[in-house]
């Protein structure tokens, strides 16, 4: 660890993104999270080109337990669970990451605006709106919006779900960023650049955000977890269009088929587990980012540090 740090300082060029990535990679939690995420993404990529059977086909014997011909058995409607599972991953991943992206962009815009116009009407209004979205249970709003989408979804597809989730998931990040902008603007290095004549907006994007990059990144993954939870929620209650095959609709149909009362565990546990794994990998990566941003939370690998120290002494 020390050696890598020494290597970094030798030809030192400050790059916040590179620094964050290296810092994350050094934390074992986020490395594990990354591997889990890659495994699930890889699984879904295979599903794009190859499925054992047609995931929409309903001509198999019903309620078969897992066997060599149907790896995860069949559903009550005669569908092959494994084919559905392998082909149904991309909507969840896409909506989750998309929600994270749009939500983070929204929270940057709103948080920065509120922070720059501190104390004015703009700030109070934006702050009020974000407080409103924090207080009001977003998922209930999504559920109501979801009903609306049920009708519109044929035209818009997953984009509608994505918009509903990202429009309700930005509030927390906006508030955190606003308070960061407020405190950072009182720091000497930002004040001195403002005195030299750098515009306010430029200090935000060249100094404040790069210095708070871990915060933005962690907000991204946090919002992505919200996106995945919301996606599952919408589809579980049958508010999206339930004829598409994805992990959410699999849960919906397994609820309708009362899989949990009839012992058909292969129908509802695999999609639930994969949804959980994706969100879990985000949470792990997030923990790594927390440790980068707050060194007191870091867990040092004592043996490795000692070895590095000895190597340096020689």
């Amino acid at each position: 660890m020390l050696r890598s740090e020494a290597k970094r300082t030798r030809n030192y060029k400050y790059n916040p993104i590179y620094n964050l990535l290296v810092g994350m990679w050094e934390q074992r939690v986020s490395r594990v999270g990354f591997f889990i995420l890659m495994a699930v993404v890889g699984f879904s990529v295979i599903g794009l080109v190859y499925t054992p059977y047609n995931p929409y086909a309903t001509n198999f014997p019903r309620d078969l337990p897992p066997s060599s011909s149907h790896w995860l058995g069949t559903t009550d409607y005669g569908q092959d669970v494994f084919s559905q599972l392998i082909s149904g991953g991309f909507p969840v991943l896409g909506v989750g990451l998309g929600t994270g992206l749009i939500g983070t962009i929204l929270s940057i815009i709103i948080g920065v605006l509120a922070g720059l116009y501190e104390g004015t009407v703009v700030d109070k209004l934006l702050n009020g709106i974000s407080q409103l979205f924090l207080v009001i249970p977003g998922i209930l709003v999504v559920e109501i919006i979801g009903t609306y989408l049920g009708a519109e979804q044929i035209k818009l597809g997953y984009l509608a779900v994505l918009l509903a989730l990202s429009s309700t998931g930005w509030a927390w990040g906006a508030r955190v960023l606003r308070s960061q902008v407020l405190t950072m603007r009182r720091r000497e290095f930002v004040m001195s650049s403002e005195l030299i004549g750098e515009s306010k907006l430029s200090t935000v994007f060249r100094q404040i955000i790069p210095n708070n990059l871990p915060l933005v990144a962690s907000n991204f993954f946090f919002t992505s977890i919200y996106g995945i939870a919301g996606f599952t929620f919408i589809y579980y209650f049958g508010l999206g269009s339930v004829n598409q095959v994805n992990w959410g609709t699999m849960l919906y149909w397994s609820l309708g088929g009362e899989a949990y009362l009839r012992g058909l565990w292969w129908w509802y546990i695999p999609p639930g587990l994969l949804i959980g794994l994706v969100a879990f990998s985000f949470a792990l990566i997030n923990m790594g980012i927390d440790r980068v941003a707050n060194p007191r939370l870091r867990v040092w690998n004592v043996k490795k540090v000692r070895r590095a120290l000895q190597g340096e002494m020689r």
Binding site: Q131, V135, I136, L140, I145, L273, A283, R296
Partner: protein
């Protein structure tokens, strides 16, 4: 803490609450389809629409339901809505006409809070103790196990957790009931007797456990991340230098670290109500979430309004109370500078 501070925060929360109420009015009306159509088509079913007798029936239905208000201009509806709120009168539910919304809610709410409050209190204790356990064993296997397990349970879809519990504890080995609020067998009457109370608790165990498993992670992570820096503070080292045993040092750090977690209590309440909304349908537990789902499916505006109103009010109120209580136990927060951060 000055009274000005309390008043200022109170006004702030009232404004938020008012916006929430307005959102409550706007959102259900954005849903396509029209309440009148929904109700009428529901009533007609397969019988012919053009039958004059049916049409006459429909006309009386509209008048009975008081649905005419949905044809009025939106601002008139809004003022009517506010007028109704003052009287806490949400009209009749469309789903279970002519039962008033107030009656449905007042019957459903105790069930929801009856599983949410025990769950939140239990989670607070279990989660904080687990977080302390993880913080003290930081970097050791037990740290990873506690954090990993609670985090995974949080990210795992909460209804699937419920389904797993039902399948393995209620269906495979018959320890718990698969759903419902109490024993509904014919000879069993809901009276205030010991068997009835036992049956209430017995039926609540699985839903409460599901909510606990789902919401543990927040406390565990919060406590662990609060406590690790505190354990490294100078005053902790001072205790150690004085020869205070490590166990007592830990319990002192725990008390300090517990402070910020009180603010999370209200937020946790909100999240747990959401957890309850998600699983009540699964456990066939006739609380707010159960009716909320039915109302969304059936476009029952009055019922939606009522439930949303109750939830928003409860959450805003608990946030306000939490802020004031926290201002009392930690006076630093009520200073001007930190306000709004």
């Amino acid at each position: 803490m000055s009274p000005q501070y309390v008043i200022k925060r109170a006004i702030y929360y009232i404004i938020i609450w008012f916006f929430g109420i307005t959102l409550d009015f706007v959102l259900p009306r954005l849903i396509p389809g029209n309440a009148i159509d929904t109700v009428i088509y529901g009533r007609i079913g397969a019988s012919g629409y053009y039958n004059p007798q049916v049409q006459a029936e429909i006309r009386t239905t509209i008048e009975q339901l008081g649905l005419k208000q949905y044809n009025l201009p939106i601002y008139v509806q809004y003022f009517d809505y506010l007028k109704q709120l003052v009287h806490l009168n949400f009209g009749a539910s469309l789903l279970e006409f002519p039962v008033p919304v107030g009656k449905i809610i007042s019957e459903a709410a105790p069930w929801t809070f009856g599983i949410v409050i025990p769950a939140v209190v239990a989670t607070f204790f279990i989660g904080n103790l687990l977080g302390r356990y993880a913080a003290l064993g930081r970097g050791k296997p037990r740290d990873y196990v506690v954090i990993g397990a609670s985090m995974f349970l949080y990210t795992f879809p909460v209804f699937v957790t419920g389904e797993v519990l039902i399948e393995f504890l209620a269906v495979n080995i018959h320890i718990f009931p698969i759903g419902g609020q109490y024993n509904t067998q014919a000879f069993f009457r809901p009276t205030l007797s010991l068997p009835f109370i036992w049956s209430l608790i017995y039926h609540a165990i699985l839903p409460v456990t599901t909510i606990i498993l789902f919401s543990l992670a927040g406390w565990v992570m919060g406590m662990r991340n609060n406590m690790i820096p505190i354990l490294q503070e100078d005053f902790m080292n001072y205790y150690r230098a004085m020869g205070v045993p490590e166990r007592q040092v830990a319990s002192r750090a725990y008390r300090v670290a517990l402070l910020p977690n009180f603010t999370s209590f209200a937020i946790a309440m909100g999240y747990s109500v959401l957890g309850a909304v998600a699983i009540e349908y699964l456990f066939n537990y006739a609380g707010l979430g159960f009716f909320f789902n039915q109302a969304v499916q059936a476009l029952d505006y009055p019922l939606l309004n009522g439930i949303f109103f109750l939830l928003v009010t409860a959450i805003v109120l608990s946030n306000f109370v939490a802020e004031i209580v926290y201002g009392i136990i930690d006076p630093r927060t009520s200073h001007e500078e930190t306000e709004g951060i």
